[in-house]
Structure formats: structure tokens, C-alpha cells
């Protein structure tokens, strides 16, 4: 079983959900992103999702777009992302990488998989790669022992949902709403239904992302999902802060609040 699978099992045994925190690589700088991700782990985030910044992130809302733009303007390269994965994996927390497909294809799919595995990454979340187009990635992830997290959506048909889940390894990413990333005032009504549809076809853990930003929302999602995935709200801590130190302090506070939330599932 993958390291993420082990972490999900442990959380399940403890009667809580796993907290996955997302941060773009190289935001605000390479060193700054390592510091931010390390702070998140120290404050109780279980799994770090390192997003490779991309020029055309169609699944991302304004917060992640802005952070990605800052990272790219700072000159972050794909190989820096691998260095960040390695540094954060050294904390002991499982590190999963989220990436649009073109940077991987450009790097070389098999070479990227090899280097990601060597850096200690557990696998990829691929927002714009569906299993239908993923032959090369299926082979490379098998060859290098990496997890594959494809997305399922409220609009997925039963047949597509089953097919997609069948190609996942590690965990399944359920997108809670029809839309892009970004914290929302209310959590989704569609998500519990989607999670139960996934559970009907697999024993893999299910993480729910899109729209979670507070401890209370994390608790609500923890009531029906195995993992709670938070990105924009954490990133905003850094974007909105007047200084890096204050940003890290806000990040720790929110991480701790979310960690508390996933330990108190609303059922």
C-alpha cells in the first residue's frame, strides 16, 4: 500500500479524516514555499499537495491563479518543484503533486515519474488528465510505484465514475462543486452524494476538494469523506499578509483550525 494509503488508514482508525493542504511550488519563492509547507505540517496538516505552477490553470480560481503567477514570475522551474517535494517529504509527511498535464509531458512522462519517485513524492493529482488520455502516465506510474489520483465530478456518469476510480491508486479526488478552486461560504450539497457514489464502487479513500476554507467546513466534510483538501484559503493567508512572518503565523493558525475540524467530524 502507498504511503498515502497508510496515512488514510491510520486516520480512519482514529475516527477522523485526513487533512490535505495545497500550496503552489515556488510561491512566494522556492524557499518560502518550503517554509510554508513545513509550517503547515507542524501545525497539523497530514498530507502536503504541491501544485506545479502553470501558465493556464483552467481548474483554478483567482487565488491559486495569483499565487501561480507569482511563482512563475519568480522563475520557478519544474525541477525546483521536485526539490521542494524532496524537502517537504523529509518532514515525514506524505507529499502528493498536483499538476496540469503539459509540464509533465514537456519534462517527459517517464523521466518525470522517475524523478518524482526519487524525490520522495507519492504520486500525482491530474486535474486535466482523464484516464482516457493517460496511457503513458498509467505505464510510468506503474513502473515507478507512484499513486494516481484522477478527479471525479458531480457530473460524472456512473460508468465514467467507475472507470475513473478503477484507474486511481492511493485516493480518489471528488470535486465538491461544479466549478473551479476557491473557498466558498457554504460547503457543497452535491459532495456527500458524490462521495457515496464513489464508495459504492471502491474501497479507496475519497478526498473532497473545492470550496473548503474553515475548521467548521472541514468538520462537515470530514463527516462523510476520508480526506479534506484545502488550498485557496491557506494560500490566501500568505497573499493577504503584510509580511512573510505574519503570513506564516496566519497559515499556522488556519492549519491548526482545519486540523481540529477534521478531528471533529460533523455526522
Amino acid at each position: 500500500m502507498s504511503r498515502i494509503g497508510v496515512a488514510f488508514d491510520k486516520a480512519r482508525a482514529d475516527g477522523r479524516a485526513l487533512l490535505v493542504g495545497c500550496m503552489p511550488a515556488g510561491f512566494p519563492t522556492v524557499e518560502g514555499s518550503i517554509a510554508a509547507m513545513t509550517a503547515m505540517v507542524e501545525a497539523g496538516v497530514d498530507v502536503i499537495e504541491v501544485e506545479i505552477p502553470y501558465s493556464d490553470p483552467v481548474m483554478d480560481g483567482p487565488v491559486i491563479q495569483k499565487a501561480s503567477d507569482i511563482a512563475l514570475a519568480g522563475g520557478v522551474r519544474t525541477r525546483d518543484t521536485l526539490r521542494i517535494v524532496e524537502a517537504v517529504a523529509a518532514t515525514g509527511a506524505p507529499v502528493v503533486t498536483m499538476t496540469y498535464w503539459n509540464p509533465v509531458e514537456r519534462y517527459g512522462v517517464d523521466v518525470f515519474a522517475r524523478d518524482l519517485a526519487a524525490a520522495g513524492g507519492t504520486g500525482l493529482i491530474t486535474p486535466d488528465l482523464i484516464p482516457d488520455e493517460a496511457d503513458e502516465w498509467l505505464a510510468a506510474s506503474d513502473a515507478h510505484g507512484l499513486d494516481r489520483t484522477f478527479l471525479v465530478s458531480p457530473s460524472s456518469t456512473d460508468a465514467r465514475l467507475a472507470m475513473t476510480v478503477e484507474h486511481c491508486r492511493g485516493f480518489v479526488y471528488a470535486t465538491a462543486v461544479m466549478g473551479v478552486t476557491g473557498a466558498r461560504a457554504r460547503t457543497s450539497d452535491a459532495a456527500p452524494t458524490l462521495v457515496s457514489r464513489v464508495r459504492a464502487v471502491t474501497d479507496l479513500p475519497v478526498g473532497v476538494g473545492l470550496g473548503v476554507g474553515t475548521g467548521a467546513q472541514a468538520g462537515t466534510v470530514a463527516g462523510y469523506a476520508d480526506g479534506v483538501i484545502v488550498g485557496s484559503a491557506l494560500i490566501r493567508c500568505l497573499l493577504d499578509a503584510p509580511s512573510e512572518a505574519e503570513g506564516l503565523a496566519a497559515l499556522r493558525t488556519l492549519s491548526a483550525e482545519l486540523a481540529e475540524g477534521v478531528r471533529n467530524p460533523t455526522r
Binding site: D56, M59, S155, M178
Partner: protein, 412 residues
């Protein structure tokens, strides 16, 4: 001339998942797959439905003003050294070939029971065409346009608003066409139940490349027959400009099976491909994934999309339709760059010899034709016949051209 714009297909087709060789396909969030499947089904059903074909054909004839003329440009021909036949898509309603695509997709939108269309636009031509069709079909219309473009194409913004559309300036990324497309995709993911994304070119995820090509392929079907009627033979070459590539595919498609007819796509070479300031995705790019499809893309060593540059806003896009990538790989069509200066020289030549002001996009096809003619004449040992897709008219470009030629009075 057949009035049936969707007669049974000739020529090469993608596989059922939209792959043209190693290109095409779907690189999209799972949330959009259901909508793409719905669209694919609606399109295939419509294609097989005589009532749809009749309705589309009637609209093209009575509303868009097609078949467009094939005009023998004698004075231009004399300067060029070839018998040049212009496919006058510039005379269509809204001033370009794009009206064919938007009418087809708007009809499909109605058939799918959707009430809202969204579109991306660069120069504003596709936005205006979409707003036009939305007005005709009583659909809500939102057009995403990079803020840089809303400023340099203010007149087209006004046209869209007059037609009842909402124009949303896009302020993220490079604030141009590719960012407008990103924003339209984001809107579509969030509103897919009632919204159709009316993509303006033969790019994007399957079924868009094949579907858009089929809605505009009347250009080539008409031109092929018109050329036979006029000259008694097929042309030696067919030329078109290539940005996303819908006008080129529209005219190429009918000729793909005619092995003696050479097909040339002219890309926007901007300030020269060697300068890096261009929009020639096939000539100066590499295979990659952008906006839902695998094709040739202008990208850096890490796969980040590069900004494109062209004097023609309509060609200023860092990707190209996947069918062109495939026609390039198979060698069936040739793709060559044309610089801003070459395009503007041909723009001026057509103005002065024929009294026709072309779109700067189409001027790239004219410039490529000027360069091609002597080579083809030497190869054939006679005057060649070349059909050029004059895909749009230049009214929208008068300010750009006026600036370029320095003919505007200072106060204006």
C-alpha cells in the same frame, strides 16, 4: 451548388475520441466530460438529421449570404504571376467565415435545450459573430476578452454590447486571447448545465475541432465546385491563413483527397520566427497540450505557454487546431510563416489592385500566395491557379493598418 452544407463527409476523420494521429483528444477536467459527450452526441445526431441540415443550409443562404463568391482577381493576379481566385468569405454577414461556425453551434445550443452561450474572443470578430447568433436565437451571451484586447478593439466591444452581449474584460495572465479562453473554460465548468461554450476555432477538446471544421467546410465544398465551373479544372494550390485554423480547414477539407492540389497554411510570423516574437505554432512551436487538446504549442522548456505576437489579433494565439498539426505531420499540407511586414505589403497590394480591403489575417494568406506563385510556376512550367481563402474583411483593421502605414492624421 449543393445547398446541403452537411452532406456526407469526405476526407479524413478523427477516431471516435477525437484523435488526429497523435494530436487532438480531450485534456479537460472530468467535470466537462459529460458536456462534451452531450455535445458530441447532439452534433452527430444533428449531422444525420435532414431537418437540421436544411435549417442550417437555409440560414447560411438567407442570413449569412453564402455561398460566397469565387472571384478572379485579375489585376492582383497580374502582379503575382498566378491565376488567383479569391474565396470571398469577407462578404458574409459579420464580415468573415466565422458566421458559419456560430450559426451551426447556436442551432446545436437550441437543440440541446441550453439558454446561454459563452465565447472567447481576441480581436472581437468571433465575439461579434457569437453575439450576432445569440441575438438571432434569443440566447444569453457572455463574451470573455482579454483586457489588452478590449482596449485595442474598443469598437468591437461596442458592437457586441449593441447586439445584447455582456463583455467581460479578463485581467489575469497576459490579458489576451489565451487568458480569455481560460476564463471561458472556468465559466463553463461552473455553469455547464445551461451553457454552451461556443469555441471560435477548430481547436479545444473533442468534439470541437471536428465539429467546427464541419460547420465551416462549406467554404471548400463551394470553392472546389466554383473553381471547376470557372476554370474547368481543380486549382494547383489552395492557400489560407492559420491562427487556430478554422478558415484554413474549412477550405482545405474538400481538397484533402485531391492529391494534385497543394494545400498551404500561412502562420503569423510576427517580427520573424527567429526573433521569438511570432504566433507560428507549427513552424516555431512543439507538440504539447493546451486548452484541452494535444497540438503544436508555443511553450518554454517547462511547458509553460509563451505569449504570441502578431500584427493580426485574430492570428495571435499560441496554439493551433489539432487537425492542422496532423496535416503537417502527414505532409498533406505545408505550413509556412509570413511576417507582419509581408502581410501588410500584400494587404496594400490587394487594396490597390482590386479595391478590396482584406482582414490582416487574410492578408497573411495573400502574402504567402505572392511568395508561392513564382515557385509553383517554375515547378509546373506554366501559370498556376491558386484559390486563396479571403477569410475576412478589413474594416476592423483600418486603425491598425492606418497606424502601420502612417496615414492617419495626427489628431486622430
Amino acid at each position: 451548388m449543393s445547398a446541403d452544407a452537411l452532406a456526407p463527409l469526405a476526407g479524413p476523420q478523427p477516431d471516435s475520441a477525437g484523435h488526429f494521429g497523435r494530436f487532438g483528444g480531450r485534456f479537460v477536467p472530468e467535470a466537462l466530460v459529460a458536456a462534451l459527450d452531450e455535445l458530441d452526441g447532439a452534433w452527430r445526431t444533428a449531422m444525420a438529421d435532414e431537418s437540421f441540415r436544411a435549417e442550417f443550409g437555409a440560414l447560411l443562404r438567407d442570413y449569412a449570404g453564402t455561398p460566397s463568391l469565387l472571384y478572379e482577381a485579375r489585376r492582383f493576379s497580374a502582379k503575382v504571376g498566378a491565376r488567383v481566385l479569391l474565396k470571398r468569405e469577407d462578404l458574409n454577414h459579420t464580415g468573415a467565415h466565422k458566421v458559419r461556425n456560430v450559426l451551426g453551434q447556436a442551432l446545436l445550443t437550441k437543440r440541446m435545450g441550453k439558454t446561454r452561450v459563452i465565447a472567447e474572443t481576441g480581436a472581437g470578430q468571433h465575439g461579434v459573430a457569437t453575439a450576432t447568433a445569440a441575438a438571432l436565437f434569443d440566447l444569453e451571451c457572455v463574451v470573455y476578452m482579454g483586457q489588452v484586447d478590449t482596449e485595442r478593439q474598443a469598437l468591437n466591444v461596442a458592437r457586441m454590447r449593441m447586439l445584447g452581449a455582456t463583455v467581460v474584460p479578463v485581467t489575469n495572465g497576459s490579458r489576451t486571447l489565451k487568458d480569455a479562453m481560460n476564463e471561458a473554460m472556468r465559466d463553463w465548468v461552473a455553469n455547464v448545465d445551461e451553457t454552451h461554450y461556443l469555441i471560435g476555432t477548430a481547436a479545444g477538446p473533442h468534439p470541437f475541432p471536428a465539429m467546427v471544421r464541419d460547420f465551416v467546410r462549406g467554404i471548400g465544398d463551394e470553392a472546389r465546385q466554383q473553381c471547376l465551373d470557372l476554370t474547368g479544372a481543380l486549382p494547383d494550390a489552395v492557400t489560407a491563413c492559420v491562427g487556430g485554423g478554422s478558415n484554413a480547414l474549412g477550405i482545405f477539407h474538400a481538397f484533402v483527397g485531391d492529391q494534385d492540389v497543394r494545400l498551404y497554411g500561412f502562420e503569423a510570423g510576427g517580427e520573424g520566427v527567429a526573433t521569438g516574437r511570432h504566433a507560428a505554432s507549427i513552424t516555431g512551436g512543439s507538440a504539447g497540450v493546451l486548452h484541452g487538446t494535444r497540438t503544436y504549442v508555443l511553450q518554454d522548456a517547462d511547458g509553460q505557454t509563451l505569449e504570441s505576437h502578431s500584427i493580426s489579433a485574430g492570428l495571435d494565439y499560441p496554439g493551433v487546431g489539432p487537425e492542422h498539426a496532423w496535416l503537417h505531420d502527414t505532409g498533406r499540407a505545408s505550413y509556412l510563416p509570413v511576417t507582419d511586414d509581408e502581410a501588410m505589403a500584400a494587404f496594400e497590394l490587394l487594396c490597390r489592385t482590386e479595391g478590396i480591403i482584406p482582414a490582416i489575417e487574410s492578408a497573411h494568406a495573400l502574402a504567402g500566395t505572392v511568395a508561392l506563385a513564382p515557385k509553383l510556376a517554375a515547378e509546373l512550367g506554366r501559370e498556376p491557379t491558386i484559390v486563396v481563402n479571403l477569410s475576412g474583411r478589413g474594416d476592423k483593421d483600418v486603425h491598425t493598418a492606418g497606424d502601420y502605414f502612417g496615414i492617419l492624421d495626427k489628431e486622430q
